[in-house]
């Protein structure tokens, strides 16, 4: 039973981190190859603050989120005005830079050997509660005018700007939100696994998060949560197959992208209306029609 709870909490925290990728890629179509690095930044800041400076746990988590968002602001401000590839490149560079700093700061963080001895302060309820709160937040952001403006930017940036949407500021805000979510997940992760190492947050991890989002469906919050939860628990479930599991994982993703490019869930969301339990009320929502970009 303990094992199942451990896997469940781990999965919940990972899903929280992946929500960062979901808002960024789902709302603006940007790719961050450094999203997992924000998780790393969050976990290191929180762990350092608690272990070395005796900062109380909640304050440490808040510090982790604030500092990560500030870092994201600098990165976003310099790169979001230019082309999207540059954003991908610079977030990638950020991840590698962060990793090299973590590797080198042996005195403070244990370097490449990892940072151990973090107290276990993340309870299962904290993890599940945080995930629920984040899901609620992301759902509302997506439904708000801001969220729909972002979808307009993703679909056709020029047209969106013509009707008066400030693409740069929207992208920046979404990026900050994403960085905040991922770093928060990182802080929780550090205090759950009690051990963090730089290797956990490389660009491949960020790429895997993007894959998870596409697996479930980039236009479906339900799908993303399903994708993140399944794909991060899958390696645990497939443990018996050891080295074949990554292979199986990749083949499943290839099949999904090839035969159901919109992701498993497409744009379907879990809601009372969609389950037929409640009548659909007419009102604002994401308009039907095609979203590109």
């Amino acid at each position: 039973m303990d094992y199942i709870i451990t896997v469940a909490v781990f999965t919940a925290i990972t899903t929280l981190g992946v929500l960062g990728t979901f808002v960024l890629t789902g709302l603006t179509g940007l790719f961050s190859l450094g999203q997992a690095a924000f998780m790393g930044l969050g976990s290191y800041i929180a762990a350092l603050a608690v272990v070395k400076y005796d900062v109380p746990f909640p304050l440490a988590v808040a510090m982790a989120v604030v500092i990560s968002v500030a870092v994201a602001y600098v990165i976003g401000y310099t790169t979001l005005k230019i082309r999207q590839d540059f954003f991908a490149l610079v977030t990638f560079g950020f991840g590698e830079a962060l990793r090299s700093i973590m590797d080198e700061s042996v005195k403070y963080t244990g370097g490449a050997m990892g940072f151990s001895g973090v107290p276990q302060l993340t309870t299962p309820w904290l993890a599940f509660g945080s995930l629920a709160a984040a899901v609620w937040l992301v759902r509302n952001v997506r439904k708000s005018k801001f969220g729909r403006d972002c979808l307009a930017i993703r679909t056709d940036e020029l047209a969106a700007q013509v009707i008066g949407i400030d693409a740069f500021s929207h992208k920046l805000k979404v990026f900050l939100l994403g960085a905040g979510l991922s770093s928060f997940a990182g802080a929780l992760m550090a205090f759950f696994t009690t051990y963090v190492e730089p290797g956990m947050f490389g660009w491949i991890q960020s790429a895997i998060w993007i894959i998870m989002v596409f697996f479930g469906g980039r236009d479906s919050l339900t799908g993303t949560i399903f994708g993140a939860a399944t794909l991060s628990a899958l390696p645990e479930i497939l443990r018996f197959a050891s080295q074949w599991r990554v292979l199986i994982y990749c083949v499943i993703i290839l099949l999904i992208i090839n035969f159901r490019p919109a992701g498993l869930f497409g744009r379907w969301e879990l809601s009372l209306e969609n389950l037929g339990l409640k009548h659909r009320r007419v009102g604002p929502g994401i308009p039907e029609g095609k979203i590109h970009g």
Binding site: D85, V90, A97, L254
Partner: protein, 298 residues
């Protein structure tokens, strides 16, 4: 340190940097070719690179082949693997006119897939290529020339020369350039686009296999060697996506900076400095080295 001594140390780093840059340029150009035609960052190129490196290693170890046949085998295998990847992963997305993001996601998946295949067949351990070059280095004017590095440079130059010639004068090369310009119109003009895309992947894969074998000979062989494709990605973006020449220059600059930084401050923190330089460069010159700005269509 005296001025002359400093100069020779600096020269040494530049020579080393250019040699490494030659291999980075091979990666970057292979990466850029697919980008030009299909307009997406093809990370599966790394998997092709790794597979080529391992197959070249097998050829060197078991068939006891000398250098040049090993390089050719690496190229051929790289080309075949790349064509296979195109067939398995990208063809149906292209046929369905899927969005570019799907290509990107699939290409990263293919990188992981090929990497994992290498782990399954060879294990996660390190391998070293058998020695294929007797003399290791010689000195000229105070600068040490490693023979392997010179071979790397010569091979890359030869490959680029051939590629430039083929792109400029052969029918297939002209078709590839046309496809880079506009895939749909090229198709309308009666060119078999499927064949051109396949050929592009084959050529790109040949460059990938070649760079894989060269990297494997210089360093050691490990399943994650394919992740060096990011050097190609960085070089390509810095060079201005959409320009093969720009990618080559970007690769050269990246390698020289990397080698110098490692000489000055060690390998540890150099990624952080490279990141800072990269951001500064993009702020000053967002269109890349070549100045050819590839416009994303809205």
């Amino acid at each position: 340190m005296e001025a002359s001594q400093f100069l020779s140390v600096a020269m040494q780093q530049i020579v080393n940097g250019i040699s490494l840059g030659a291999v980075y340029a091979l990666i970057a150009v292979g990466f850029a070719m697919v980008f030009n035609v299909l307009k997406f960052s093809n990370f599966s190129h790394g998997g092709v690179l790794g597979t080529g490196a391992y197959l070249g290693y097998l050829a060197a170890l078991y068939l006891k082949l000398p250098l040049i046949p090993v390089l050719l085998i690496g190229m051929l295998m790289g080309g075949l693997v790349a064509v296979g990847v195109e067939f398995v992963a990208f063809r149906s997305i292209r046929k369905k006119r899927g969005q570019l993001v799907y290509f990107f996601v699939t290409s990263v998946t293919m990188l992981m897939l090929l990497e994992q295949i290498l782990v399954i067949f060879f294990g996660a351990s390190f391998f070293t290529y058998p020695t294929m070059i007797r003399t290791t280095s010689f000195s000229l004017g105070g600068i040490n020339f490693t023979v392997l590095y010179l071979v790397m440079m010569a091979v890359s130059l030869l490959a680029f020369g051939t590629l430039a010639w083929a792109l400029k004068y052969t029918k297939l090369g002209i078709a590839i350039r046309a496809a880079s310009n506009d895939l749909t119109t090229t198709n309308l003009m009666g060119v078999n686009v499927d064949f051109i895309v396949m050929a592009t992947f084959f050529v790109s894969g040949m460059l990938g296999g070649l760079s894989g074998v060269l990297l494997g000979m210089t360093y050691t062989l490990y399943p994650q060697i394919g992740q060096l494709v990011v050097k190609g990605f960085i070089a390509c973006v810095l060079g201005g996506l959409g320009s093969v020449t720009g990618a080559a220059w970007g690769a050269l600059a990246l390698a020289v900076v990397e080698v110098s930084l490692i000489a000055i401050m060690g390998a540890g923190l150099s990624p952080a400095v490279i990141f800072a330089i990269m951001v500064a460069f993009l702020l000053v010159r967002p269109q890349g080295f070549a100045g050819v700005s590839f416009q994303e269509k809205a």
